[in-house]
Symmetry: C2
């Protein structure tokens, strides 16, 4: 599956074919409005009526464009995943290239933790199917973390260490830590960093 920008396998949905004019503008308006509403009120409370009204676009257009509320949410998650991947693969350091691998790995962990928390409702839905949980885009995160561990000179079984690090960034796990155990995102970030540093031997 190509996303049309030279990245392969990054998308959780097939990309839409070429969009032009009104359709593309409406899509952008709707996604921007939905993102803003979700930031303000949380993903679980935003309705399709809210999104259409905030975008100044008819509700019919919203449903034609995304099929359903679930369809809209998948596109939103997909676009956020792509933006994050773009940032950690090609963006400025320390998330992108240009700093030592451990520094990049730590930046990745903190970024992904924040992402998991911000998108916890959508990610939790997606993860409830093991096929989604372990397949693209999850595989790209695995490749990235494993590459950084290797570049940092990490010894031992890199696959196991990669999976262990990623498990602590799982949306359900992070939600449990924060909501049920009362941990802060800062504490979770520190815990993750402690494990990453230990595995890298620093």
């Amino acid at each position: 599956m190509s996303t049309g920008d030279g990245l392969v396998g990054l998308s959780v949905t097939d990309s839409a074919p070429t969009e032009r004019g009104d359709a593309a503008r409406n899509r952008a308006l709707l996604l921007t409005a939905a993102r803003r509403l979700i930031d303000e009120h949380g993903a679980d409370t935003v309705t399709m009526d809210d999104v259409a009204a905030a975008a100044g676009v008819g509700k019919g257009t919203l449903f034609r464009r995304f099929g359903s509320r679930a369809g809209l949410m998948i596109v939103l998650l997909d676009e956020a995943e792509k933006a994050e991947q773009q940032a950690f693969m090609f963006g400025p350091p320390p998330l992108g290239p240009g700093v030592p691998p451990l520094e990049r790995l730590l930046a990745y962990g903190h970024e992904r933790l924040r992402f998991a928390w911000d998108h916890r409702v959508l990610l939790s839905d997606a993860n409830s199917d093991p096929q989604t949980r372990f397949n693209p885009p999850a595989t790209l995160h695995r490749t990235h973390v494993r590459m950084l561990l290797e570049a940092a000179g990490t010894t031992g079984d890199l696959d196991a260490q990669t999976d262990a690090l990623l498990a602590l960034l799982d949306a359900d796990y992070v939600t449990h830590q924060v909501d049920d155990l009362g941990r802060s995102l800062q504490q979770q970030g520190d815990a993750w960093e402690s494990l990453a540093r230990k595995l890298c031997g620093t």
Copy 2:
């Protein structure tokens, strides 16, 4: 929730009240038959008809006793969890006490990996609800692994390391590794041992 044998919080279902005579014998016959059929054919293919026939007990009794197929499966998983917990808390070494903590930790990992594989269908069902995934009996495993890490003199954030180790024993993860990636249980056990040894500094 007490299980009546002095262990608190180990059970995934409330224990049945006192059972006597025929009822207790039928229950044992049905559970033994169900375990044998699942061992032979896998949990997803065994029917309630199969279990009743193999136990030589009426199907009505089977349903009265366990409510539904799902109810029977929960009791089977619960009993297996309790037997395993008994073994790693109080059983003979190296799973139980009497050997150095790292040795006990490694025995635990190999045992739990086998358990996760053997009960993957039931565990996967149970894990699809994050409340079940992170609450008892999962908390008991966390306490056990953390205690062994601490006893082994492990440095750093023990909670994070405990959760990382347990994530690699998650039934969905193990199933993905074996079924989708073609890894053997032996390879998974070696990978887990590699991570555990590294965290314990050996």
